[in-house]
């Protein structure tokens, strides 16, 4: 099983801070696609992704037990 964490406005769109999904074997890009369909996110291409608190790129493969966090860069200052 994998835990997926949502930060900032992604949390509001998903309606939850975290969810559990079986996504091992998928790439980060594939997971983004799946999440977009499931929760109706409009765009995730510029959202940063961490696996087990380490920055990862879109082609990294998710392993069993990994925790994946989606962190959208924000702009205000």
């Amino acid at each position: 099983m994998n835990k997926i964490l949502f930060f900032a406005h992604l949390r509001d769109v998903a309606g939850s801070e975290s969810i559990e999904m079986q996504v091992d074997g998928k790439t980060v890009a594939e997971l983004k696609e799946e999440i977009m369909t499931k929760f109706g996110f409009q765009k995730l291409d510029t959202v940063m992704t961490a696996i087990n608190e380490e920055f990862t790129s879109d082609d990294d493969i998710i392993q069993e037990g990994d925790t994946i966090a989606f962190i959208p860069p924000v702009s205000g200052g």
Partner: protein, 339 residues
């Protein structure tokens, strides 16, 4: 004033030696909004040698809730933020050389200043300027500290050329339709927490305590009680155009910057983003309506009634700002909405 910095000098990682280093340094602060006000105050009180502050905006009533340097009087006088900041900071510590610049931070302006700068602090509200700062930082080997916030969510990352990944490694392209304080709201504590992270990093860099500099990318939500520290050891991209083996510094090129044009005889400025966008207009309309703005639209464009201006935003990211001929003001409004 004697003893002025004594408590900071008693802090072992700084000491008298560190204080002398802080005094010898010149910090460039880009933006004098919420993050800019707070960072400027911390650095001025800490006795930095020189502080150059660039801002293109003036003080408005909606700033006072979180922009700690400004007062009601500044709002009434419509003082430019850089001028109002200068007034307040000089009253705090007259021995610090504060250099306010009222204007739009562009490549030309920054390249003129940059040779004497030791550190850049990001207090901007848009990614276009941040990507430009990022390229300048790499080109001239000057560290910079990214900070941003919206709602109760904030983040910061310290970029040291030759050592850490850069912002271009992390984002690869400019996120547009990023949430801004004018669309997603903002609370004071979020601002303060980002300022605390940025200014602590600034002090470490100014005293040259490189080992203490935080290597991770922090993000937090002060309302939902989340704190995330992301390790960045695998984030550096070998072929990054800003910090890779053959850098081209793409964001210093004119073609990658937002174009502003006054439309003759129409009291209107046209804004064109560097790359054609594919905006989700319905989502943007909802955000703006929630904030109480009057928004009308069709599948091709949105028309927003902004105080004193009407703004028309097209799906490709182009916008018309009606009711002004001032390019900087128009760009400010555009970036307040689209980040």
């Amino acid at each position: 004033m004697q003893d002025r910095y004594s408590r900071q000098e008693l802090f072992p990682p700084i000491g008298k030696e560190g204080q002398a280093k802080i005094r010898a340094k010149h910090v460039l602060l880009i933006g004098a909004g919420a993050l800019g006000s707070g960072n400027a105050e911390v650095l001025t009180r800490a006795g930095v040698g020189k502080l150059t502050i660039i801002d293109r905006d003036y003080v408005e009533a909606s700033n006072l809730q979180r922009q700690q340097l400004y007062t009601e009087e500044d709002v009434i006088e419509k003082l430019p933020k850089a001028a109002a900041a200068f007034k307040r900071l000089r009253a705090i510590d007259s021995s610090v050389d504060i250099r306010p610049i009222i204007g739009d931070a562009n490549v030309e302006m920054l390249e003129e200043l940059i040779n004497e700068i030791d550190l850049i602090i990001d207090a901007t509200d848009n990614f276009e300027t941040r990507m430009m700062i990022n390229d300048l930082s790499q080109k001239y080997k000057i560290p910079w500290i990214y900070g941003a916030c919206v709602g109760s969510f904030g983040m910061s990352f310290t970029i040291i050329p030759g050592k850490t990944p850069c912002l271009n490694c992390l984002l690869q392209s400019i996120p547009i339709q990023g949430m801004t304080c004018d669309t997603g709201g903002i609370i004071g504590p979020t601002v303060q927490m980002v300022i605390a992270h940025q200014s602590a990093e600034a002090l470490k860099i100014l005293v040259e305590d490189w080992e203490a500099v935080r290597a991770s990318f922090v993000s937090f939500d002060v309302w939902r009680n989340q704190y995330n520290s992301m390790k960045m050891s695998r984030a550096k991209k070998q072929h990054c155009l800003s910090c890779g083996e053959q850098p081209t510094y793409p964001y210093l090129e004119l073609e990658n910057q937002t174009k502003t044009t006054v439309l003759c005889g129409r009291d209107t400025v046209q804004i064109r983003p560097p790359k054609q966008q594919n905006l989700v207009l319905s989502e943007l309309a909802e955000q703006l309506k929630r904030l109480g703005y009057e928004v009308k639209g069709n599948p091709y464009l949105l028309s927003v009634e902004w105080p004193e201006n009407r703004i028309v935003i097209f799906q490709d990211g182009r916008a018309l700002i009606h009711g002004t001929k001032d390019l900087t003001q128009a760009k400010t409004i555009y970036q307040k909405i689209l980040g």
